[in-house]
């Protein structure tokens, strides 16, 4: 056993410091495609295998919730489409399905604002440490790998107070992958119902958000929202481990959620992040959250 002690010291600290410090791998990540700002499309719009591209009001939009990152549109029309950069940040996981339309439609702000308020009310009750239950509702298997990576030494979510739990009874967050296989609808619903309130649901990956390439069929429901109410939408096929980590921290209110004012969304490119949310929260607000949580829990027992 002693050989393992020495081997463990071999590479020094390999753990990322994100979100306290920026991480180059997260910032350089190639995310879902963005459409072009209004200006009027010229010529042929490339065919998208998942139908993520739409043209309305002179703007070419990409539904990032459908984007499977095949890159065909970027290769054919680099003037209209570009990769988004960075696996983290407020725009990498959003609080309303419509906020994944990029560039955003004008109505988005309202929907996201309401969603943020709702989520805030619930996550206020979550303490510094959160427990996550993962359910595979018809994934291709790659999402599970990326979630397991979070338990490894590079991402090490335990340092952020996030733990995976076997029992839904202990879980605050339901992290769901997969296109919503109909065979998994009942087990997924049972797991959700088994979790105590307050609870937050993350749809992780294009499949979970929209069904991805599988769409809606006899076998899948085209995303998990048909079975459980989704709070945080995380695109990607599969999403990167940093993307999943980012979504988890947004879900529990440790990081600022995106999809708000257009200026905030524009800042999705790599740059300084809202580290304060993860580390520098004031004691007063913490105490307020704790009180809110206690009130809510007391209310439940009556």
């Amino acid at each position: 056993v002693s050989i393992w002690v020495l081997r463990g010291l071999r590479d020094g600290v390999v753990t990322s410091r994100w979100p306290a410090r920026p991480d180059p791998y997260a910032d350089g990540w190639r995310g879902p495609v963005r459409g072009s700002a209004p200006g009027g499309p010229a010529g042929v719009i490339p065919s998208c295998p998942t139908g993520a591209i739409s043209v309305t009001g002179g703007a070419v939009r990409v539904d990032q919730g459908r984007c499977i990152l095949c890159g065909r549109c970027v290769a054919e029309r680099p003037d209209l489409f570009a990769w988004s950069r960075g696996a983290t940040g407020p725009a990498a996981a959003v609080l309303a399905r419509e906020a994944l339309l990029v560039p955003e439609v004008p109505e988005t702000d309202q929907g996201v604002g309401a969603a943020r308020v709702r989520l805030r009310e619930r996550t206020a009750a979550l303490r510094r440490s959160v427990h996550v239950r993962h359910v595979d509702a018809g994934s291709d298997g790659s999402e599970e790998w990326e979630i397991q990576a979070l338990l490894g030494p590079v991402y090490d979510i335990h340092r952020l107070g996030v733990f995976f739990t076997a029992s839904p009874r202990h879980a605050d967050v339901l992290l769901v992958t997969g296109a919503g296989a109909r065979g998994m609808a009942a087990p997924l619903r049972t797991t959700y119902d088994g979790m105590p309130d307050p609870k937050v649901v993350i749809a992780a990956g294009a499949d979970a958000v929209s069904g991805g390439l599988l769409g809606v069929s006899e076998a899948v429901t085209g995303g998990i929202a048909a079975t459980v109410p989704v709070d945080v939408w995380l695109p990607g096929s599969p999403p990167s481990p940093f993307g999943i980590l980012n979504a988890l921290l947004i879900a529990v209110g440790k990081l600022a959620a995106g999809g708000g004012p257009a200026s905030q969304r524009a800042a999705a490119s790599p740059g300084p992040r809202s580290d304060a949310g993860a580390t520098g929260e004031g004691d007063a607000s913490k105490a307020a959250r704790r009180r809110a949580g206690e009130t809510e829990r007391a209310g439940e027992t009556q």
Partner: protein, 475 residues
């Protein structure tokens, strides 16, 4: 590849006699073209390729004589056909739903073993840890596992049906997502089928890039199995070490192509682009990785508390491996090696020095791990050869035009789990049907048979040592 049409009983006779003579049964499936009869197709792997044998059922036939009593390896294949088309294989031992959930009445707990104190532990589909959804029904008196049953239908996604109507360019994207941890192998098998139909030849540079990605995928998968095994044994440091190596491999892949799973690289006719990293840098990084992995693997294989858990655990006999045609490391560990890279070489494997077949026969979890380490070492060797050859070829085109109008062919590739086969039929440049067969589907059924003498705490070791993905089973 040859294609022969006959009637069902002649097909079964031919199939069993060919398997008896040394060919390998590689799959059975049914297809129905609008308004036509149901056609049963069997794949037989030979030294040079995959043969397809076909037999149409008489119009309106609701049943046919089952193959399973004559060839046990067809057990799950015939259940799948029954699930999809409702046609009954007469004489099949157990026609419970396999890949489609069916109705709730079918979900009653089955009981195979009777006896005092025997009970069934339903384990899944939502299991402890971050796992794919599958349900194991463990019949046990408390410790021993006299019988194990599996339900894989929970995460059936309708992948096979989804292919219909797609262009080959879209189809390869779906193939990548059929079994996400073997994206490259599935894309390769699909593209090989399309390229055979088109009769096109992949440029030499693309053939090497394909090898690069396929071998990186193999290394990542085998490291994943190592993580699971040491995690089951509670070796925290070792788990962290192998997880670190796996992460480094995935990061290298993402720097080559933008995706951590090599997605978007393999396309019909070649590759979408040559790697972004210069070959010299790939060589250097792969070299460092190889050193680190080899050293930790060597340390692991002398950690006796770990080896004790694997030795003699979940043994598959050589005889059963041969009968079933067990694929990949599961077969190799039991003395049955049929590596598509060697037996039916494709792409860069035609020109690269072939990895030797490992000579293991124990068939237990330890032998499976040994096979994986040998494969990892061979993969690094192939990676090195491919990266060294790449600069000479880089002026080459990355792809040729490959847009076949119509035809049918089978394509194959050696995934980390074993051989993947795609049977693709195109009409007017679109897929009319595409049948993926993963190694996970073919091998998982063998889990029924390897619990002789093992107890509940051996379960995670046996499951991990198979190294399969449920996504590839419940397509």
């Amino acid at each position: 590849m040859t294609m022969a049409q006959t009637d069902v009983s002649t097909l079964w006779t031919e199939l069993t006699s060919r398997v008896g003579a040394g060919d390998r049964f590689a799959g059975l499936f049914a297809t129905r073209v609008e308004g036509g009869p149901l056609v049963l197709s069997a794949h037989v792997a030979t030294a040079g390729g995959i043969d397809t044998l076909e037999a149409p059922l008489p119009p309106g036939a609701a049943s046919y004589p089952a193959l399973t009593p004559r060839l046990g390896a067809a057990f799950w294949y015939e259940r799948e056909i029954h699930d999809r088309f409702g046609v009954i294989p007469e004489g099949h031992p157990r026609l419970a739903p396999l890949i489609r959930p069916g109705s709730p009445e079918d979900h009653a707990l089955p009981r195979h073993v009777e006896g005092y104190g025997i009970f069934t532990i339903p384990h899944g589909p939502v299991r402890s840890g971050v796992m794919e959804s599958i349900e194991y029904l463990v019949e046990t008196p408390g410790e021993a596992i006299p019988h194990l049953n599996m339900r894989v239908f929970y995460k059936h996604r309708g992948v096979e049906d989804r292919f219909a109507g797609m262009t080959p360019a879209d189809g390869v994207l779906l193939a990548e997502r059929a079994e996400g941890i073997a994206s490259v192998a599935h894309a390769l098998a699909f593209c090989h089928a399309v390229e055979t139909i088109a009769g096109c030849q992949v440029p030499p540079a693309a053939a090497l890039v394909r090898v690069l990605h396929a071998e990186l995928e193999r290394i990542a998968n085998h490291l994943d199995v190592a993580v699971r095994l040491v995690d089951a044994a509670g070796l925290a440091v070792a788990a962290a070490r192998f997880a670190l190596h796996k992460e480094r491999v995935l990061r290298l892949v993402s720097r080559l192509c933008g995706s951590r799973f090599g997605r978007g690289v393999i396309i019909p006719g070649g590759v979408s682009a040559v790697p972004v990293l210069p070959p010299a840098q790939i060589l250097a990084e792969a070299g460092q990785l190889r050193q680190a992995v080899t050293a930790d693997a060597a340390a692991l294989m002398t950690t006796s508390s770990f080896l004790d858990r694997l030795r003699g655990t979940g043994p598959l006999t050589s005889q059963r491996a041969r009968q079933h045609g067990a694929l990949g490391p599961v077969g190799k560990a039991a003395g049955y090696a049929d590596d598509a890279r060697l037996a039916r070489p494709y792409d860069g494997y035609r020109s690269l020095a072939a990895p030797p077949a490992p000579g293991h026969t124990a068939g237990d979890a330890l032998a499976r791990l040994r096979v994986r380490w040998e494969e990892v070492d061979q993969s690094f060797g192939l990676l090195r050869q491919a990266a060294e050859d790449l600069p000479e070829r880089s002026p080459d085109r990355a792809r040729v035009t490959c847009e076949p109008a119509g035809g049918r062919a089978a394509g194959w590739a050696e995934a980390p789990q074993g051989e993947v086969i795609y049977d693709v039929e195109l009409v007017d440049g679109r897929i009319v049907r595409c049948r993926p067969r993963s190694a996970s589907f073919h091998n998982l059924v063998l889990m029924h048979e390897v619990f002789t003498g093992d107890i509940l705490t051996d379960f995670p070791f046996i499951e991990a040592s198979f190294g399969l993905s449920v996504a590839g089973v419940a397509l």
